[in-house]
Symmetry: D3
Subunit: 319 residues, 6 copies
Amino acid sequence: MTAPIRPGLGALGLPSADLGVVLAGELTADAVVLGLPFDAGVPGVPGQRHGPEIFRKLSPTHGWSVAEDGALGGVIDPVTRGPVLSGRRVFDVGDLGSVPIDPRIGRGTYYKTLTRLSEQLAGAGTIPVFIGGDHSLSAPAATGAAAVHGPLRFLCFDAHCDFSARPMPDATDITHADFLGHLFQTGTISDAELYGVRTYLPADCGPLPEALRCAYPYEPEASATDRYDRPTYLSIDLDVIEPADFPATGHPEAGGYRLRELLAAVEHVCRTRRVVAVDIVEALQDDGENRATSATVSALVMTCLRALLEHPRERETTE
Amino acid sequence: MTAPIRPGLGALGLPSADLGVVLAGELTADAVVLGLPFDAGVPGVPGQRHGPEIFRKLSPTHGWSVAEDGALGGVIDPVTRGPVLSGRRVFDVGDLGSVPIDPRIGRGTYYKTLTRLSEQLAGAGTIPVFIGGDHSLSAPAATGAAAVHGPLRFLCFDAHCDFSARPMPDATDITHADFLGHLFQTGTISDAELYGVRTYLPADCGPLPEALRCAYPYEPEASATDRYDRPTYLSIDLDVIEPADFPATGHPEAGGYRLRELLAAVEHVCRTRRVVAVDIVEALQDDGENRATSATVSALVMTCLRALLEHPRERETTE
Amino acid sequence: MTAPIRPGLGALGLPSADLGVVLAGELTADAVVLGLPFDAGVPGVPGQRHGPEIFRKLSPTHGWSVAEDGALGGVIDPVTRGPVLSGRRVFDVGDLGSVPIDPRIGRGTYYKTLTRLSEQLAGAGTIPVFIGGDHSLSAPAATGAAAVHGPLRFLCFDAHCDFSARPMPDATDITHADFLGHLFQTGTISDAELYGVRTYLPADCGPLPEALRCAYPYEPEASATDRYDRPTYLSIDLDVIEPADFPATGHPEAGGYRLRELLAAVEHVCRTRRVVAVDIVEALQDDGENRATSATVSALVMTCLRALLEHPRERETTE
Amino acid sequence: MTAPIRPGLGALGLPSADLGVVLAGELTADAVVLGLPFDAGVPGVPGQRHGPEIFRKLSPTHGWSVAEDGALGGVIDPVTRGPVLSGRRVFDVGDLGSVPIDPRIGRGTYYKTLTRLSEQLAGAGTIPVFIGGDHSLSAPAATGAAAVHGPLRFLCFDAHCDFSARPMPDATDITHADFLGHLFQTGTISDAELYGVRTYLPADCGPLPEALRCAYPYEPEASATDRYDRPTYLSIDLDVIEPADFPATGHPEAGGYRLRELLAAVEHVCRTRRVVAVDIVEALQDDGENRATSATVSALVMTCLRALLEHPRERETTE
Amino acid sequence: MTAPIRPGLGALGLPSADLGVVLAGELTADAVVLGLPFDAGVPGVPGQRHGPEIFRKLSPTHGWSVAEDGALGGVIDPVTRGPVLSGRRVFDVGDLGSVPIDPRIGRGTYYKTLTRLSEQLAGAGTIPVFIGGDHSLSAPAATGAAAVHGPLRFLCFDAHCDFSARPMPDATDITHADFLGHLFQTGTISDAELYGVRTYLPADCGPLPEALRCAYPYEPEASATDRYDRPTYLSIDLDVIEPADFPATGHPEAGGYRLRELLAAVEHVCRTRRVVAVDIVEALQDDGENRATSATVSALVMTCLRALLEHPRERETTE
Amino acid sequence: MTAPIRPGLGALGLPSADLGVVLAGELTADAVVLGLPFDAGVPGVPGQRHGPEIFRKLSPTHGWSVAEDGALGGVIDPVTRGPVLSGRRVFDVGDLGSVPIDPRIGRGTYYKTLTRLSEQLAGAGTIPVFIGGDHSLSAPAATGAAAVHGPLRFLCFDAHCDFSARPMPDATDITHADFLGHLFQTGTISDAELYGVRTYLPADCGPLPEALRCAYPYEPEASATDRYDRPTYLSIDLDVIEPADFPATGHPEAGGYRLRELLAAVEHVCRTRRVVAVDIVEALQDDGENRATSATVSALVMTCLRALLEHPRERETTE
């Protein structure tokens, strides 16, 4: 029996499918889009729980055709004149939990469930694109991926350096502003590259690990020679973008990337690194900006999917 | 030794003082303003934690003089030509907790602390004006007041009827949308009057208690004859106001009160009922509206304080 | 075979159904909601074509239960403690045409189709609630209703007096600013009452018919004695509302109704007149205001439906 | 030779004419509209200098016909079916000074020029409608009118009581927040009625004169019996309006009038008092609100002109 | 007799003149600015008809001197220290039609009139700068120019590839989203270069012509060698700009040009190609953004005029 | 006795100190931040007086430690891993005057006081960072600095060329749009470099001095060879930024710098020129943008301070 695929009902007009079906192996997916409506990792400005809902409700529909096995078709790029994601299988598998949030589900439970899910998807060779939600979600998502791939490189676009050296052995010890400490302490990540950083840290955050490198510009040619053979977790905190261009985030910082710069950098990362999972986090509910928020997330998702799935050979070669 | 009073440093230019000093009886207060930066009772749109910060940062300063014992003076009302709050002692006693929120403090702990505080203030004969925060805070605040005054009448301005009959024995079972069920089930309140209600309930919310009355208009003359002898908790959910006039709330409903209508109704309640505590809840962070939010909360606080404290005799007489 | 009803998929969470099924008599409806995405009657500021889309996409879902025959249930009003629209059959039957608009369909064709539809619904005893679209749509919609009910009274809330005495025998001669001339000239309406009017007319618009009465306030008690026995077309131009409260319209005029005043007036009309059709027109696309637009239209639709359908006996009696 | 009248080139589509021609008596005017682009009386939030420019640039054009002598015609009110300002002669006479402001012209000079102008217009029996500009302009404008009419009643709609008892013998001693002290001290006004007041004064403002009465609501029936025989200066500070409805002002105060309430009150004043001059002040430049600002000022100007000029007999009778 | 030139009354403070006078050859013009208030080519979000009105009402005035023959002077560029457009004759010749739109004029008629006008201007050697209006207007405007110059190159800045291969022999078959199909099918254009493209096409749009090239960046040095000898139609769809910088357009797409990038590209095109006509299209009415809209259009118009008219020799040489 | 330093109470969390203490030499400062709440140099859109208030109220707090002598510490930059401003002494010394502005203080007095202050700070070797206020303030500030350093180079980022050759011997002859004429005429500046210029001048502004150079881009490598040995006044008019990114200014011009470009240019200037004073001017009060305004000013102040104070050796060498 064919697994149930619902053409056109997902974000971006992608086919939607049940996450369980994918996890059970009844449906093979090259990538899935999974919403994480959660913001309990935020001590400051919350509302990130609405990210998936805004993305889905207002994303453009690209008019895909969908084959019986879920393979996409029917869309062309006028710049290349070629097909877009043709033959790839990408599903919107819904959200982990929902808004309104069930008050009976604790933070620890949510993080654990996400860790397990992320591990299962990694085991199945499916690249997840997580739509947050707050940045603390990167911790459980990366932990799950590392259980399959081993210690990861964490490549992140972010206005802030989300680090503290204080002990945080458990996922519930973290916030969206310091979770990198947890990932280093648990050995989940071996190193981290942060781009777009433009804020300061209090000196009492403790010593920054050698393996944590911060920069403002992403410079394609300046990468280390070993970069291609490392499993990499790509995390995009939307506050890396200039607040004038993307105001709907909780902790905006003057002087960020233009979306176009970010798209180019993200595309380069996805083409040249061994990216095993992606998250896009920290969009807020803001009535006046919801359409722009969805457009920005949509552009990032499409850029990641195309760079990751349309050129698999190039990526294997470079590894 | 005189208790430390800091003239001009509180919201509205009121003197600020430490809550501990008031609770210890070292400083006698007719009323206190206490911020509750908390929104963990919200499954939908959060951000109410910023209410106290917005109120304080942008409230107007009325230029009070402050006597050694904290008695206010120095401000007149050009309409009455008389002094404002003259001789009354009102302090801004800061916030219960802070933003960023400490992730280690659980919901139950916060509610319990607030219950105890509310009880202590009631015991000292001080009227608290709580600045929320989300509406679930009314539950612990009323519970503390009822421990001193006995079962309360709950008089509330709200677009919604925050009720469910499902069992919710513990404060952590509630949300900001159904806490009235808890208050009835625990006997904290004997009855409730809700004004401004303009939304529906699912039929499966269970039977509404007889003692829960909902209406849209507040009609001064239509009150029951026993109204003056009941200790009353006044709760103002800012979403009772028309969204065009007060957009910075999480669940706006078309067709609400004008602020002026609300001020008149609140003044009437404070002059004719035995109000023992007040809360003003559900304002959201919204950069474009923060000044208006503070102005609205400020007008409500001043109206409550004047109606409660400038006419004590009238209130006693009517009782 | 039961006619296909799709619970929960319409605006306001109403069941959706195909218009054809209703017209064919396979599904009996007390009322239907029909979108009219059309603005070719507007020489000035267009964009009214998006009205139905905005209303549907962002309207609240009331959680109805739907019986096999489409009868509604499951929702209560906390003010009355009674059920809402219980046992009534109301369907969202979609839009007449779609956006993007098909450029091959001319104005005349659209008006003719709407006239025919309106006549068929009137013949079936179903009250249509049309969601515009621009105000010129009242002309064909009323024409269709008059074909069944005879000459109508046109009761309208509007900032403008949409009249000109110049000859306009054909529907394509009208604009949204003068269509009343056409309705008088064709005998479709016998008289008109306009409320909320607050603009001037050029003297060369020609003589106003005696039967066209304009006023700002709607005064329930001042109605003519014959009012109950006349079939009445109720038209709500959203620019009757104060622009500060409803900015998303093309020709806003300072000094309008509050939504609450409008809801009360509309409710009175629907309870005391023999309303045979309703339209709500002139909402514009405006990213920052779409949610408010939908909330306002939703409140008007619910008020009309409840006043028309929950009290049929009262209406018959008063007639 | 006929004085030069330029039909349609003034605000509201009124004819424009040169102020000098009116002052020289070559053109008889029932009323004139005169802009006052000036805000040097503001110590806080400036920008009122742009009021006249905004009003003129965006006011609606009513399509008047203009006779050779400037008499208006061609516009009807659909509510009354009657003509609007028919036969009256009203001219837009431009601005006193311009924006950009000439830095060489001092405050004292501006005030003196306005005083003289106001006196000349009063002498000619022309009612001026001044479009500010900041509220301090009421001082020289009233001083000029009082030179002809004797001590005036000052009837004002304002959120604030603009009074201080400190000595301010010269016009340059005043600000827009205390100019009433100057008017009382110089005997320019005999008494003052302020409506819409909702803020406090510092006690050290000095004693309020007995003849200065403040209230929030304007109650038509509560006026003194001598009201009709007193020459009255009508001043409308736009901050009397609710900030949600009229945000473009420098010192907004929560809880104001709706525009509709203000229009009704202003109309009553103009019909029942002997109004000799009008000002409308304190609108600010604000890109997003300029259209609304102009619409509000336009509605006020039309209401004043109609109430003052269409019913002269009624006014004389009541005196 | 000198042709009537009205100094200072056009957009940008340019002299205005009647279009008829220019077409009749009574006034020689190097370039004209012509508004096209028309949006009937838009099936989606309309309102482009207000583009010319917004541009004119709010454009800056540059303080030109105007000689008897219309030659400009009096303005210098502080960067070059040289005069701006000195000696050039540029007129604002008003709009083709007006808003409110006359409902009796059909689409076909408007397109035909524009085609004829464009041909006449091309015949007279005058470069038209058309201010739209919607993008479908490029079709008749280019058709008119091609009647004089022969098949054109269509160089366009646009977020979208406005193409479909379905047959569209008549101008009324097109929309603003597919008109390039018509221009290729009729032979009006020989090839097209589109820059800024960042959206997809449905595969069933048919095969893209070889001569239609899409790209995101405009790279000056990458042009074909034959570029200078081809008559070129330059079309600027304002949605090529990043929506955060230019939100007032109907179909915004995330990730566009900055205005500065666009100005540089447009200047390069105008200096190096044989541009025979220009259009600037797809600005929408949006109260909050009108000033920015006018500023953007103004900057584009000035850049085009200077690059086209100040360096004729350079352009001739490169041809 | 130690001079009174108030840790954490200044803008950016800097220590605050009294200006008098610094001027008296009791407190040695490497740099001071001084607010200039003044806008009487503006004939057009005023409101710049609120710049310092907005900057201070909403600037981020960086959590400095402050040694007894005021030396800063406790903050690290994650990009460099090094300390920020460590050991430097920077104080917020408050504002020169206040808002509301005292109407008794004339323009001339304010300018003179600022001139004297600027001279005293220059004499003490303290670099002032002035936060405006309007651009005319550059004139007295530069005049004071030149009294110590001799004729200055004026390096300015600005959308406009603020020049006129008309005689303006006195500071009160200037406006914010032409003050450079005054500075050249008085010999205060020997030459000027303006970057970001994108507007025109009327030809009758008179001849531009040879020593006044305008350009749009700032090109680091293109500087004159003598640039390092000249005392330089750095002036940043915030309208140099693209209005979409920084709308809160009075005379926005389409097509400006991104903040990031400006930060890079400003950093280069501060590292390579002998900057003796800095001003940042022309921010306006605008409720919706105040947070962004403060963030932008904060980023500029931090960039200047770090570039000027962290690399003194580099700067000396290059001289």
